[in-house]
Symmetry: C2
Subunit: 292 residues, 2 copies
């Protein structure tokens, strides 16, 4: 492998566009651009022994798309920075791009640039560019007391999958589904939104901090079959959308088959504090720095 031959190969991939200059060129349209960048690192976000190359590629992009979805945007382009480890043979890299571009093509996202280098372990940084009409972007900071809190899909599946390493839950861990259609639907409806990437409790805590409010969970969580409530609250990697809306805003129970569940209420109170049926809730979730 050398840099020139690797880039030559990437440029020829279906879904790649305009690669070869020092920057990607993106025509401006109206509205706002959304930009997100997400690291995916061997030994931190995946294991070489258990994760297939194509799943790693899929997930790298899915994480970025999920961020665009959380802001109500439509993803358009992506750039991929790769640091290859000595064990990343050409076949592995091919598999990585195959998985990434399968999702990119489904979501009509063009691969327009990136960087390649080496490192002792594999590192991918994905950049996704999206668009959103001016003022329509969903932020974490808009939740108001009395707003209802909703979450899409089912929680805890990825956490369960990581424990089981097999079955539907494992697939949920390795091939998360960015909720792009839901994000667009929430424009003008949700007062605040974010994706649940590190665990519901930690992410709701963050949303409440940004909004200067507290939150009360009420009723059962929509759990993935077999997942525990602890996995639902702190498991991470689910990539569902967490959002708030006034009670008066109609939110359907399903959107194109995706469950939307009301799980609680925003309250006035200590910013970021959470409670569960009246009892204080411990903030659990995934923090890269809390692992060895």
């Amino acid at each position: 492998v050398n840099e020139l031959s690797l880039i030559r190969k990437i440029r020829r991939l279906k879904g790649a566009r305009g690669i070869g200059d020092d920057c990607a060129v993106i025509p401006m349209t109206s509205g706002n651009a959304l930009l997100t960048t997400d690291l995916l690192i061997e030994g931190v976000h995946f294991e070489r022994e258990t994760h297939k190359a194509s799943d790693v590629g899929w997930k790298a992009l899915a994480r970025g798309l999920s961020d665009i979805a959380a802001m109500g945007g439509e993803p358009r382009q992506c750039l991929v920075s790769l640091a290859l480890a000595p064990w990343n043979i050409a076949r592995w890299v091919d598999g990585f791009y195959r998985g990434l571009l399968a999702l990119a093509q489904r979501e009509r996202v063009a691969l327009v640039g990136g960087d390649v280098s080496r490192a002792p372990q594999f590192v991918c940084d994905i950049v996704v560019v999206g668009t959103v009409p001016s003022g329509a972007q969903l932020l974490r900071s808009g939740a108001r007391p009395q707003d209802a809190i909703y979450v899409s899909g089912e929680l805890g599946g990825a956490g369960l999958g990581l424990a089981r390493r097999a079955g539907r839950a494992w697939r949920r861990h390795v091939r998360p589904e960015p909720r792009v259609a839901l994000g667009k639907f929430l424009r003008g409806r949700a007062t605040a939104a974010m994706d649940v990437s590190d665990g519901l409790a930690l992410d709701l805590h963050r949303l409440c901090l940004e909004s200067g409010v507290s939150a009360e969970l009420e009723g059962p969580l929509p759990l993935f079959p077999g997942a525990t409530r602890a996995q639902g609250l702190g498991g991470g990697d689910d990539y569902e959308l967490l959002f708030t809306a006034p009670l008066s805003t109609p939110i359907p129970a399903r959107l194109r088959g995706l469950r939307l569940t009301r799980i609680g209420r925003i309250r006035q109170g200590k910013p970021g504090s959470l409670s569960d049926e009246g009892r204080p809730l411990r903030i659990t979730g995934w923090d890269p720095f809390s692992r060895p």
Copy 2:
């Protein structure tokens, strides 16, 4: 260190703007957006023992700004993805951002987002967003036979610095200067441009490949005092601009004090082949995959 406290700290830095949501929001203006992403990895691009934190931060951004300059753009925003190693204590991270933001503020670039994670060794991926009027972007593919070839500044300084690890050459290695003003000046003048990041010979080879032409070097290279011709041709990390223009286009000998030197001529011939005063030139330069 945990993620929340680190992000809280980054948001308060002078030069940071609007951090805290799943994406950065960037208002679209007219023209084209330029996007570039560059990895900077411990043990590949710098050594923990010899490189100061603030220099690493400066260089991470300078590499991205240099890409924007090479396309004739004006840098506007940056995003920083950091994977911190166990040895990256808070003081080191502070120094990194201090160096990065010193350059960002000088160049009026806002830090608008990023990601933080951990890795066995420090990894930074910088994303820089720039703007350029539609159609004014400088590409690698526009060089035509008979165009003159130019390079800015002096070559080989960074290579010499890496060998000496002291003095002005070392400073050149750790604190490269992105040539943003020159890039803007070249709009409408240069037929092709790129930055010299991996060595003049390798980068000129790449430019010629994209343009489907060959190149002939003529006369002495503008070498950094003390640098050898080999360092000038293959040293890398100089971040000068390499560009071509028709002979009829006036190019000054200096632009705001920065030397601009004519170093050769574009020729019809095997795409990417280089010669030096009539003799074939070996393509030397920095390739991340050619190191152990």
